[in-house]
Amino acid sequence: MKQKYILRGCVLMVLVLCTGRLFAADQCIACHAGVVGDKPSALFKHDIHFAKRISCADCHGGNPKAEEMEAAMNPKQGFKGVPKGDAISQVCARCHSDSTKMKTYGAALPTNQWGNLQTSAHGKLSTTGKEHIAQCITCHNAHGIVSVKNPASPVYPLNVVKTCSKCHANAAFMRTYNPSLPIDQAEKYRTSVHGALNAKGDPKPAVCSSCHGSHDIRTSKDAKSSVYPVNMPVTCSKCHSDAQYMAKYRIPTNQYDKFAKSVHGVALLRKHDVGAPSCNSCHGNHGATPPGVESVSKVCGTCHALNADLFSASPHKKAFDDRKLPECETCHSNHEIVTATDTLLGVAPEAVCSRCHQESQNPKGYAIAKTMRQLNDSLALSGSVATALVNEAEQKGMEVTEAKFKLRDARQAHLQMRTMVHAFNEDKFREVINKGMAAASFAKVEAKDAIDEYYFRRIGLGVSTLIITILSIALFLYIRRIEKKQV
């Protein structure tokens, strides 16, 4: 029996000599697991690195073959003990940033994690001044690291929120970094559609890292961040525009396409106006959920305050509430909100009023809608006539600053009228219209005067040319006469 063991031992020794090292021969595990029985070594046995036969010494240094503790854990043998601070991530990066090394372990993992981390908020900022905020082990654990796809991993989708909120829900910790940062993200997340599904064990809905990224997390104010307002729609659309991915949830996947065409989308995506609303402006970010009928006008009203105020005080408020119609969306739609034009108003087929105010059923509302549209059109018409006249006068080289000043007022009335329409009150509407009409007619008169002046100049020139021509001809004849006499 003993001989057999010796033989096996010999074979093992040969194997060790051949391959360089072997876990069975790893004295670290032998001691720490067997004799000391500490937690790290216990965890490490389930670690993916253990399975790949990576030794404790590969991270902690020392000589794993030495049986004596003094020799094995001798700093002269390169023993480092427990790496501290940034040194931790540097240890990981020795392999994880080296694609050739990673290949020898048969891993097809990316090798840019360490680089990404260094550009991220976690890798750039520091609260203590000694080390950066997050090391690899902060999220991935130190011993017992398993693949992301393994449900036991702290970065498995169902665990991510818990992992992140270890710090992000900790007021005392977050204060050391930025006292004004909220710490309720996880709490809000649980109220969101994403959070509810996640709690039910569905790994597909978005978790923290789906939107914020993993190693390369940047603050939302960083223009390169995936949650920077301009980038937000694309980030959301990664899932929400993927019909296959979303099939299970039976919701549309055209929101991004619609949004991109909308007035908000154009402002945000093409003009890069960060003041324009992004997905999260209406849906919330951590508590992402579609706003209900009740709250949609509040959502729009955060920016379009005056319109919302006027609407709330208007007769439509009650009518909409009774019929459970969403307030803004009923006329303006949701994702594909195009620039509101005058055609929305009135009873023409493309107008929205007549959807409810049909002539047969609601003649009064129909009549008012029609009148308001007519008022609007007459203001628009006199505005454009005045503008055309002013432009004509200007093209003729006339000075029309006064008229242009008044045109501003007419234009302002047109803009105000578009706001005032939300009061759905004919008198108030008329008031604004009349102000605009007065300004437009003043500009028209000024411009006409300028154009008259232009023609007056030409007539004046004609008259003086006539005078000079007659005078010249008379003079010419006179000279001829004199010279005839002299001859």
Binding site: D273, G275, C303, H304, A305, L306, D309, T401, E402, K404, F405, R408, D409, R411, Q412, L415, Q416, T419, V463, S464, I467, I468, I470, L471, A474, L475, L477, Y478, R481
Partner: protein
């Protein structure tokens, strides 16, 4: 007889030509002098619109109030804060160029078109305005308040 008539026609012709010459000359003088006389007549607005405007006396401007002043062909809003400071800004909203007004109830400069609000330093604080109002310089000499373009 013949000679005489010839002389007569020539005389009348000469008179006619001279008449035209004289009349034409007078008309020409008129055509030259009229524009000059009209030019020299003082125009309705007898000063060049310039880089400064006198608003009035300080005591006539209430505290916690604002007024629109015509500055050349652009509106300017002159605001007197509750503390008594006098400030002036371009009254053209930076969003869609409506004319802003002072709202006593907010203590802010407000644009009626889209509810844009500016604080009393001209900074856009809420609503759609993308940038602050341009500020003008206000000087008070004795009691006289004047607004100047910032150079």
């Amino acid at each position: 007889m013949m000679e005489k008539s010839e002389a007569q026609t020539s005389d009348s012709k000469r008179d006619f030509l001279k008449l035209i010459l004289g009349g034409g000359f007078l008309a020409w003088i008129g055509a030259v002098l009229y524009p000059i006389a009209a030019y020299l007549k003082p125009p309705k607005q007898n000063e060049v619109e310039v880089s400064s405007v006198k608003v009035g006396l300080l005591k006539d401007i209430e505290k916690d109030s604002g007024q629109i002043v015509k500055f050349g062909n652009k509106p300017v809003i002159l605001v007197r804060t509750a503390a008594g400071d006098v400030r002036a800004f371009s009254a053209v909203c930076t969003h869609l160029e409506c004319t802003v007004t002072y709202r006593k109830d907010f203590g802010m400069i407000w644009c009626a078109c889209h509810n844009g609000k500016y604080d009393l330093n001209g900074r856009n604080v809420s609503g759609p305005p993308p940038r602050p109002l341009d500020e003008l310089r206000v000087t008070i000499q004795g009691e006289e308040v004047s607004i100047f373009k910032k150079s």
